[in-house]
């Protein structure tokens, strides 16, 4: 009888199996629509961020994970065309070289080494600022026009991609060519960046330019480089955006994030502060390291005025200050000033040797480093509260100019400044991972403390997609940022 039941039961089980196969639920894939935008030819205009720069270098992995490349992948589903980048070859995949994370030092600070194999370096051109590398050229048509290091103030500089533009002499200085623009520019051509962009004739573009017009000044602790004048910035930005939209192209304009929120400025200070006795203070110089008109002003920073992880205190130490803050209080220590001299040497008058440099700056390296007015920490290591307002005000002015022009042209705006301020204040969780603006553990910023990781670039791409969808009524899909790497730990 039982056997009979089993025999009868077998077909029933088979039927059940069929029913189960049909049981799998499906969630409709979201529709993808281009809206009023046309992604047929997408061109990315910008600097290192657009090129995919990270870990202090431009290399193939970073290029492949650049936000324009991620965006182009999503555009493709909405009628976007091919997107070509000036990729380094597999044989030269390490490009300019970059930083690799090797572990933590005794004090818990991260250690890095330079990757120096499989580079794309093909030469070195003598310039006023010293020898400058050149990289294997890439002259095919490209869609990613991201040029690391370019400022808005550079876009109309003829010969910006020509090695002949070597900086002139100390008494008759000229601009110096950009190695990355030189890489994508035919030899001998004096085409400007603006001309190159205008000739690209996109149907859709992203535009994220101007960061370096404040960044170089800020990362040098306001001791070198300069802030681009607002009038120049506005004129150049308006001009290049007019070019881009001349044929009705649509696009996104990104604003310039407040650089003081990046790990480059928020990592060393808190740990340095924690290492100091409560009553200690730090003596620094403020402003340019060498004006030739006398010793720079000293500034005394009480310990508790160093900004900590919670935002208490105002003074910011750069990531490059990391090897020097551990020398605090040591007598007979001239390392910081010797290194500053070496960096400044190309821009100093030929007759200024180390002894004169120290004398003019009023330095006596026998005194306690960072703890005496005679041996202060160089201004290059600190962005102090006298220097920060200049950076902030200029960032705001540039962003106002960019947003105003974008609105005039009916372009989408990715307010990177607002976004990264949010990330710095509250973090940015994605699918069970908590991302912050912190160094190493924050996932979003690479080992140079300024440029994003591939995951950071994916987040940027998603935010741009949000802005594009909102402006053009498109329904582009975001990417999963967690599918892009953050820091790789040894």
């Amino acid at each position: 009888m039982n056997t009979f039941l089993l025999k009868k039961g077998t077909p029933a089980l088979a039927l059940l199996g069929l029913a189960l196969a049909g049981c799998q639920p499906d969630i409709d894939a979201p529709g993808i629509d281009k809206g009023s935008a046309d992604f047929t030819k997408y061109v990315a205009v910008g600097n290192s961020l657009t090129a995919g720069f990270g870990d202090g270098g431009l290399y193939r992995e970073g290029q492949l994970n650049s936000y324009p490349n991620i965006l182009a992948g999503q555009f493709k589903a909405a009628g976007g065309g091919d997107f070509t980048q000036p990729l380094f070859t597999e044989a030269q995949l390490n490009g300019s070289g970059y930083l690799r994370f090797t572990g933590f030092g005794a004090t818990g600070s991260p250690l890095t080494v330079n990757v120096t194999n499989n580079l794309a370096v093909v030469g070195a051109v003598p310039t006023r600022a010293g020898n400058q590398f050149t990289y294997a050229k890439y002259l095919d048509p490209i869609n990613n026009l991201g040029v690391p290091g370019i400022r808005m103030s550079d876009i109309e500089t003829p010969g910006f991609g020509n090695t002949a533009l070597n900086g002139g002499t100390f008494l008759a200085p000229t601009p110096i060519f950009n190695s990355y623009f030189e890489r994508i520019t035919p030899a001998g051509s004096n085409q400007t960046y603006r001309q190159r962009v205008a000739a690209s004739a996109p149907t859709f573009f992203t535009f994220w330019l101007g960061n370096n017009d404040v960044l170089g000044f800020a990362t040098a602790g306001a001791a070198a480089s300069s802030l681009t004048p607002i009038a120049d910035f506005t004129r150049l930005a308006n001009g290049i955006l007019d070019d881009l939209t001349a044929n009705g192209a649509k696009g996104v304009v990104a604003t310039i994030p407040d650089v003081t929120n990046v790990p480059f400025f928020t990592t060393v200070g808190p740990s340095f502060r924690a290492s100091l006795p409560a009553t200690a203070s730090v003596v620094v110089t403020t402003g340019p390291v060498f004006t030739g008109t006398g010793a720079p002003t000293r500034k005394t920073i009480p310990r508790d005025d160093i900004r900590d992880a919670n935002g208490n205190g105002k003074q910011l130490f750069t990531l490059t200050a990391s090897p020097y803050v551990t020398l605090y209080g040591r007598t007979n220590n001239g390392k910081a000033w010797r290194d500053v001299y070496a960096q400044a040497r190309p821009s100093l008058p030929p007759n200024v040797d180390l002894r004169l440099f120290l004398t003019v700056n009023g330095i006596d390296t026998t005194k306690a480093f960072g703890a005496s007015t005679e041996n202060p920490m160089p201004s290059t290591l600190v962005l102090d509260d006298l220097e920060q307002p200049a950076v902030l005000a200029r960032t705001t002015a540039f962003n106002d100019a960019l947003k105003s022009k974008a609105n005039e042209k009916g372009l989408a705006i990715f307010d990177a400044n607002q976004f990264f301020a949010e990330v710095a204040a509250r973090g940015f969780a994605i699918n069970g991972t908590n991302n912050t603006a912190g160094f190493i553990a924050g996932n979003l910023f690479s080992l140079d403390g300024v440029h994003p990781t591939p995951r950071g670039y994916a987040v940027i791409a998603n935010e741009m997609i949000k802005a594009i969808n909102a402006k053009y009524g498109s329904s582009l899909q975001a990417v999963n940022p967690n599918a892009y790497r953050a820091i790789i730990f040894p």
């Binding site: 009888m1 039982n2 039941l5 059940l16 029913a19 189960l20 049981c23 799998q24 639920p25 499906d26 969630i27 894939a29 979201p30 999503q74 994370f101 572990g103 933590f104 969780a429 994605i430 699918n431 069970g432 991972t433 908590n434 996932n443 998603n462 899909q477 975001a478 990417v479 999963n480 940022p481 967690n482 599918a483 790497r485 953050a486 820091i487 790789i488 730990f489 040894p490």
Partner: protein, 431 residues
């Protein structure tokens, strides 16, 4: 097939299931009840009354043993808020089971019995590399309860009963990826694996059958806190440079298995037809948060590394904030012939999980259940019951913004949709 082999087969089926009642509760005791939408509180069908309403056991005229097993086929789809393909579970089948044995005094005043069943459980294996991997990759939650029960018929119409609800076996295995990579695409991984301590609760019920055509019942099952003390923590693929942040070897956790209050009513318009209605009220609000404590030192961070670290902390707390929830059940049976009885029913189960709090371990939503069943009486002593349930969870979406607002960023943003099919078979033997 004799009873002994059946019992052995049951022993091999120790497992929980993707829940078929809100949260991680499984209501699969009694194959007859399964076919009727899970009603039973207001009925005295058979020995499974020990689970639904121990007060009704004394009114179960037949004394006997029944054993039931179910196969739970859960099929789930997930789409991330951040795009990408649809993710589906790695298919798994789990098999909740139940055994009920009831005995009675010759005057039908007293009845006693023992029940073994699996009221809480969950097993989900997510697709490799799915978007929620840093929240959960696998969960296997098992529990087996043993319940000695007594019941007493105060009058021919009124009976009461109660049982000791013993959490005899409980096991948890939770796995997730750690968002730290030693090489691209290879994140760390942590497994928490532990056995629950034996805990004792109780259930009780009252059953009243004023006429041949109407019966009413009420029952209560107490809360039990399932506690793992010293479960095992195991890490995989954690980069050596961060070893000091992952030193834990043991964990402690407590998971509340909530109290349930039920009311049921049965109508018997004719001898052949029974219709019943149940309402369950589950006090899920006991589940505020899932808190782990970690200890031990695996030496991965060297001699000076702090102990009990999982990601640099020695404890974790994840918000649950469940709400008390109702389940409504309606079902009936009709005796076609002396041998065949057919059943049908349905249930609607309100989710205890609030918007923004859905976790991958319980991708819960309101559930609609449809059931059917059939019994075949082989002879006066032996019968076979077959049931099948189809449970449809409403599609449910939560966005990253909602998670951030709720303080629940340890889970994943996207849309879940789940269906469960649960065929079951039971054998009963009366003596």
């Amino acid at each position: 097939m004799n009873l002994k082999t059946l019992l052995l087969a049951g022993g091999a089926l120790l497992s929980g299931t993707a829940a078929s009642a809100g949260g991680f509760q499984v209501s699969l005791a009694g194959i007859k009840n399964n076919g009727m939408g899970g009603v039973g509180v207001g009925l005295s069908l058979d020995q499974a009354a020990m689970f639904y309403n121990p007060g009704a056991l004394a009114m179960v005229r037949e004394r006997g043993v029944q054993i039931g097993g179910n196969a739970t086929f859960a099929r789930s789809a997930f789409r991330s808020q951040f795009g990408g393909e649809q993710r589906e579970l790695r298919n798994s089948v789990v098999t909740p089971f139940s055994v009920f044995a009831g005995f009675g005094s010759s005057d039908n005043k007293f009845a006693a019995g023992i029940a073994i069943y699996t009221p809480f459980g969950s097993k989900l294996q997510y697709a490799d590399g799915w978007e929620g991997r840093f929240s959960l990759t696998d969960i296997d939650l098992k529990s087996i309860f043993v319940q000695p029960t007594v019941s007493y018929a105060i009058t021919d119409q009124l009976s009461v009963g109660g049982g000791l609800v013993i959490l005899a076996y409980g096991a948890v295995n939770l796995q997730r990826d750690i968002p730290i990579e030693g090489q691209p695409g290879v994140p760390g991984h942590v497994t928490l694996d532990g056995k629950a301590l034996t805990k004792i609760g109780f259930n009780g019920g009252i059953y009243y059958k004023p006429t041949d055509k109407l019966s009413i019942g009420a029952s209560y099952r107490s809360r039990i806190d399932a506690t793992v003390d010293g479960g095992e923590v195991e890490f995989k693929n954690v980069p050596t440079s961060v070893g000091a942040r992952f030193t834990a070897t043991e964990f402690d956790v407590t998971l509340p298995l909530p109290a349930t209050t039920s009311l049921g009513v049965g109508f018997m318009p004719s001898e052949k037809l029974t219709v019943a209605l149940d309402v369950n009220y589950v006090q899920w609000s006991a589940y505020k948060s899932l808190d782990f404590k970690f200890r031990g030192n695996n030496g991965a961070g060297g001699l000076v590394a702090p102990s009990g670290q999982v990601g640099g902390v020695t404890s974790s707390s994840s918000r649950r904030e469940y709400e008390d929830a109702f389940t409504f059940r309606l079902g009936g049976q009709y005796q076609l012939t002396d041998a065949f009885t057919v059943r049908a029913g349905g249930s609607y189960d309100l989710s205890p999980v609030k918007d923004g709090f859905v976790t991958p371990e319980t991708p819960d939503a309101n559930r609609l259940g449809l059931t059917a069943g059939i019994s075949y009486k082989v002879n006066d002593r032996f019968g076979v019951d077959v049931s099948t349930q189809f449970i449809d969870l409403q599609e449910r979406t939560q966005t990253q913004d909602e998670l951030t607002a709720a303080g629940t960023v340890d889970r994943v943003a996207g849309t879940y949709k789940t269906r469960i099919v649960i065929p079951g078979i039971g054998f009963n033997y009366t003596f």
